[in-house]
């Protein structure tokens, strides 16, 4: 043990002591996440208010943690939820199982499910860890209508509409 090296170590830590803390006061000040950050899922809507999800359950098939459960039901022109034949009557994600890999996002043919930037997922019991469809679905944009909506027959026959930037 070289005493001068020990003193040098003390000096180094003392310099750190004089530095301003790098802490963010978290609940008040939040650091923005990256654009591609994978947080809580959201089920997206089209501009007119129809849900993008068509209940194909490809996300559930792609999910490595088996966290997604989808049940589909038939659309009709009187009660239309999404374009095409079917919509997701039940859509649940168990956030305790989800590993936020984003495979569901990749599997979705309509870009309905997107991992957004919300990372504040805490719950006091297991039941509230299951995010149901009404918690995942985004609100209707201005100008859109709530689902189910009554539409003109034959106007939304295609389940996968033409997308601007299909990947």
């Amino acid at each position: 043990m070289n005493p001068f090296e020990l003193l040098r170590g003390l000096w180094t830590t003392f310099l750190n002591f004089l530095e301003a803390p790098v802490t963010y006061q978290y609940p008040e000040i939040k650091r923005p996440v990256r654009e591609r950050f994978r947080g809580r899922h959201e089920l997206k809507r089209y501009d007119n208010g129809l849900e993008k999800c068509i209940g194909c359950a490809l996300c559930a098939a792609a999910c490595p943690a088996d966290a997604i459960f989808v049940e589909a039901a038939e659309n009709s022109d009187e009660a239309r939820y999404s374009p095409g034949e079917r919509y997701a009557s039940t859509y649940e994600i168990n956030m305790l199982r989800c590993i936020f890999c984003g495979f569901c996002e990749d599997a979705c043919p309509t870009e309905a499910i997107v991992l957004e930037h919300n990372y504040e997922l805490s719950y006091a019991d297991r039941r509230s860890a299951i995010y149901t469809k009404d918690r995942l679905l985004v609100p209707v944009l201005e100008g859109g209508k709530l689902t189910p909506m009554k539409v003109e027959a034959g106007s939304f026959d295609r389940a996968v509409p033409e997308m601007k930037d299909p990947t």
């Binding site: 020990l6 170590g9 003390l10 002591f17 301003a20 790098v22 802490t23 006061q25």
Partner: protein, 335 residues
């Protein structure tokens, strides 16, 4: 005993024990967390109350309401006794430390005049080792036992150097009663003993840090090897007592260091305003506490065999040499 004297002693003991040790140890955890946080370029606890000042109280309330577990295999009597044996010496050590000069006829100490003051410190500080050893033994847990054994070995090794570091101030105190802590403080009126005993002070600081099991000498509770060491099996208020003892000892060791080497309560204008005495003493104690936290922030834990080798092969010879040189110089110069 006179009723008034009894009352005075009771009130003084309560103030010294409760205010200085219990509250002091509680707020020492806060002090350490804040200072250590700044060393790591963080802020530290600042949520509970203004500036986080209620954090120790919140911690205590939490610990009181924790479940109090006793392992099935544990030796119950010893298991319950161990935290008590550990915490009481830490509390009563302050009895011989003079906190300030006489203020309006009231002396700010409990028994600073007893003629075995320094011996009392040594003796009482050693008792705490029993608590730690018993805690490790009675837990019926191999990690706790190893922590307890390490604590015993380490404390015995470093106590020798600690005791020899005390000899310097005792030799330098030119008085018929040199072991009285009060006399030692009086003797430092003009010149602090740290000036005459720089080596002794260094030995004292190192041995004291080892004695209170703090980084870089925190072998008895080396997390990576022993989970938590001797208090692995303790929870709730018993664990809180160990914590209290640990921080209380840290506080007491700083008080002793400030008293024996840094001039105790002496400072400018103490003669005219005696109430400044405790303020100076607390300031010196804070400096020492800061230094102990600083050590923890800087140095990694020393390997166990190196720790023992350092204690026996370096600290002890150095301490003996220091005593011999001090004694020779005193004889040659004539005191």
């Amino acid at each position: 005993m006179d009723i008034a004297l009894l009352l005075e002693w009771t009130i003084k003991s309560l103030i010294i024990l409760v205010v200085f040790v219990v509250l002091g140890a509680a707020y020492l955890t806060y002090f350490e967390r804040r200072v250590l946080a700044r060393f790591q370029v963080r802020i530290g606890p600042n949520r509970a109350g203004p500036l986080g000042l209620l954090q120790p109280i919140a911690d205590t309330v939490k610990l009181i309401f924790k479940e109090d577990l006793i392992p099935a295999q544990a030796d119950k009597v010893l298991f319950i006794l161990a935290p008590v044996i550990t915490v009481i010496p830490a509390m009563i050590l302050l009895a011989v430390i003079p906190l300030g000069p006489e203020v309006a006829g009231i002396r700010l100490d409990l028994a600073a005049d007893i003629n075995v003051g320094v011996l009392y410190i040594m003796a009482v500080a050693s008792i705490a080792v029993y608590g730690i050893t018993i805690a490790g033994w009675s837990s019926a847990n191999k990690y706790a036992l190893m922590g307890g054994i390490r604590a015993t070995a380490q404390m015995i090794s470093y106590e020798l150097a600690l005791a020899l570091a005390f000899v310097g101030p005792i030799l330098l105190t030119d008085s018929p009663n040199p072991m009285s802590v009060n006399e030692i403080v009086q003797a430092q009126h003009g010149l602090w003993f740290v000036v005459l005993q720089p080596v002794g002070f260094l030995i004292y600081i190192m041995a004291a840090v080892a004695e209170i099991n703090r980084a870089p000498f925190d072998m008895p509770e080396a997390e990576q090897e022993l989970t938590a060491g001797y208090h692995t099996e303790y929870s709730g208020m018993k664990f809180a007592l160990f914590y209290l003892a640990e921080y209380g000892k840290m506080l007491v060791v700083s008080f002793i260091g400030a008293t024996l080497f840094l001039g105790g309560y002496w400072g400018p204008f103490v003669g005219r305003f005696p109430l400044l005495g405790p303020v100076y003493l607390l300031a010196k104690v804070l400096v020492l506490l800061y230094f102990i936290v600083w050590l923890r922030a800087t140095f990694p834990r020393i390997r166990y065999d190196k720790l023992m080798a350092f204690g026996w092969k370096f600290m002890l010879p150095l301490a003996i040499l220091n005593v011999m040189v001090t004694a020779t110089v005193i004889v040659l110069v004539g005191g």
